[in-house]
């Protein structure tokens, strides 16, 4: 039971990590909660669903194509909704993005219908049993994809010039732009990257639960936020760990405390983290300057 929940939690957690890292990056570089993250995730899942169900594309290819297509959608959203409002009050930006998110969800509903669609089986139903613990090939695949993407992202953010520019912009966008970083282009890139990661997560979740629906992204914005603050906003490694932790909390909470509250644990964790460690588990204390 315990080991089984551990495996389930880590599977779910690696997906949450993907969503959370993208979200955290966008918050760092654009300085804004991305309320459209859930809709982008939904679109990613639907792109993969369309490719798999209607064209019979092999899964790895469909996975990458869905990421690419969603990245494009992300770039359009960034230029349409974020860029023109860069200097507006925070709330106007949030409402504009909420508007975009409603538009995207409803477009998804018009295109793919309002009913849940069955996501094609990806890996057959191969299941191994070790000492009473069932692990499916799909769970391996999800964890593997999560790990590969996380490692690639870690390399990108901490080892490349672009990553250094991202971290510099998170720290201080004005100073970064004075150092010759093209901040606007970097913001577009970060948003696009985060959209691609969201698409990967959406596709994996679609494959895991074998279903996609237009409103599947509703709770994702909040979960991604919690994952991001668990690790400290803008902290990539923190968000990865936060995602795994979130998956574990959900699975263990549902198994040992109350299954009806499965989706409510995330909020309880959120309250606790913000009350006890407002800068995240790995965050450093930052005092407001006068």
């Amino acid at each position: 039971m315990f080991l089984q929940q551990l495996i389930n939690g880590l599977t779910l957690g690696s997906v949450y990590a993907l969503v959370g890292v993208g979200y955290s990056l966008v918050y760092g570089v654009l300085g804004l909660i991305n309320f459209a993250h859930g809709s982008i995730y939904t679109w990613g899942a639907f792109f993969a669903f369309t490719l798999l169900a209607y064209t019979g594309t092999p899964f790895p290819l469909a996975f990458l194509l869905a990421m690419g297509a969603t990245a494009l959608v992300g770039a359009i959203v960034e230029r349409m909704a974020y860029y023109p409002l860069r200097k507006s009050p925070l709330m106007s930006q949030i409402v504009a993005v909420l508007g975009i998110s409603i538009i995207m969800d409803n477009l998804a509903m018009l295109i793919w219908g309002s009913e849940a669609q069955a996501f094609p089986s990806v890996m057959g139903s191969q299941v191994w049993t070790f000492a009473g613990v069932r692990i499916s090939l799909l769970q391996f695949l999800i964890m593997g994809a999560g790990i590969v993407l996380m490692v690639a992202l870690y390399f990108l953010v901490y080892q490349t010039k672009v990553g250094a520019a991202m971290r510099a912009t998170s720290l201080d966008a004005d100073a970064a732009s004075l150092m010759g970083i093209n901040v606007e282009r970097l913001r577009l890139m970060t948003f696009t990257l985060s959209a691609a990661l969201a698409a990967a997560a959406g596709t994996l979740i679609g494959a895991y639960y074998r279903t996609v629906i237009f409103n599947m992204g509703y709770g994702v914005v909040i979960k991604a936020f919690v994952v991001a603050i668990l690790g400290g906003m803008g902290n990539v490694v923190g968000a990865m760990l936060g995602g795994l932790l979130m998956g574990l909390i959900e699975c263990f909470g549902a198994a040992y405390i109350a299954s009806g509250y499965k989706d409510a644990f995330v909020y309880i964790v959120l309250f606790l983290v913000l009350l006890l460690r407002p800068n995240g588990l790995l965050g450093t204390y930052e005092k407001e300057k006068v």
Binding site: S88, M91, S92, V95, I100, I103, D105, Y218, I222, G260
Partner: protein, 316 residues
């Protein structure tokens, strides 16, 4: 510092005290002229959302705290009325006592929420409050013995005054209109009292406000309590109006819609909140023939208003 002064500073300078009285009388006369239940329903819902938008404007516009979970307080008010009138006090005064209890209860929850989150600012608070609303909804969904779970509560009686039941759409219109007027007078007066000024001071600069002797924690708690009480009263009305309750009426999207009403009209402007509530409640009704596109248009409107008037239609 009454309504007229504030209004004069705004864009509705036409409203001198006499026109105000005439407008109020005309508003009360509406159900005598319009009997169509569809129109009255639409207007009642506009009023219901005006109350909520104004309550939220106290937080977002005055204090600068972006509460994305106001529907949690509405749910507390609504379910208190539902549970107490159905199960405990079916008498005529049950509704009114329950309305009061719900308001007090929501106020206490509001103070607790305010006290526990006063350090959390800006967009973080957006999500925390969104989470608060969702936690309330999960409790409603899962505490089946008390709330009926997903089935909710049916047979909530209409508000009654002795043996007179406010059951028709017109009578309920008068009830909610009175609530709207009370809330409007209250908030407009509050805006220019020491309370409103303290809130604006905190919004503009927390450190400076505290240095000027404003107890931030206390004023934030009062603000949260006010909004919670008003929202709970609106929730109580909602319970008596629809006669049934289920958690679906209190999903987080309702909170977000109310946020959009405030922002659309212009945060900090009470008349903006009124207008935002009117526009966003009526648009889905007007475009009903385009049912499947109505949400799409709603999103498009939010987006376009923010692009062209980032501070809201009546915002300065």
């Amino acid at each position: 510092m009454d309504t007229a002064t504030v209004v004069k500073r705004g864009k509705l300078a036409l409203l001198n005290p006499y026109t105000k009285i005439i407008v109020v009388i005309l508003l009360f006369a509406v159900p005598l002229v319009i009997h169509n239940a569809f129109y009255l329903d639409a207007v009642n819902m506009v009023f219901y959302f005006i109350i909520l938008a104004v309550a939220l404007d106290l937080q977002m516009g005055f204090l600068g705290v972006y509460n994305f979970g106001i529907v949690g307080f509405v749910a507390i008010g609504a379910y208190t009325v539902g549970i107490l009138t159905v199960g405990v006090w079916p008498q005529w005064w049950g509704f009114w006592v329950a309305l009061l209890i719900g308001a007090v209860f929501a106020g206490i929850v509001g103070v607790l929420l305010g006290l526990s989150t006063f350090r959390i600012r800006g967009d973080y608070f957006c999500i925390v409050s969104l989470g608060f609303g969702e936690i309330i909804r999960y409790v409603l969904l899962n505490w089946v013995s008390l709330t009926g779970g997903p089935m909710g509560i049916t047979g909530v009686p209409a508000p009654r005054i002795f043996s007179l039941a406010l059951a028709s759409r017109g009578q309920l219109y008068w009830f909610v209109l009175i609530l709207v007027l009370i809330v409007l007078v209250l908030t407009v007066r509050m805006k220019n009292s020491y309370l409103g000024r303290a809130w604006v001071a905190i919004r503009e600069d927390e450190v400076a406000a505290e240095a000027s002797g404003i107890n931030m924690v206390q004023y934030q708690a009062i603000n949260m309590a006010m909004a919670a009480v008003i929202a709970a009263v609106a929730g109580g009305f909602f319970a008596g109006y629809l006669n049934y309750l289920n958690p679906e009426s209190f999903v987080s999207n309702v909170s977000l819609n109310i946020v959009c009403m405030v922002i659309l009209g212009g945060a900090g402007s009470i008349w903006g909140a009124v207008m935002g509530a009117g526009i966003l409640t009526l648009i889905p009704e007007i475009v009903r023939p385009l049912a499947q596109y109505s949400s799409l248009l709603y999103g498009l409107l939010m987006f376009l208003v923010m692009i062209f008037r980032p501070k809201g239609v009546l915002g300065k």
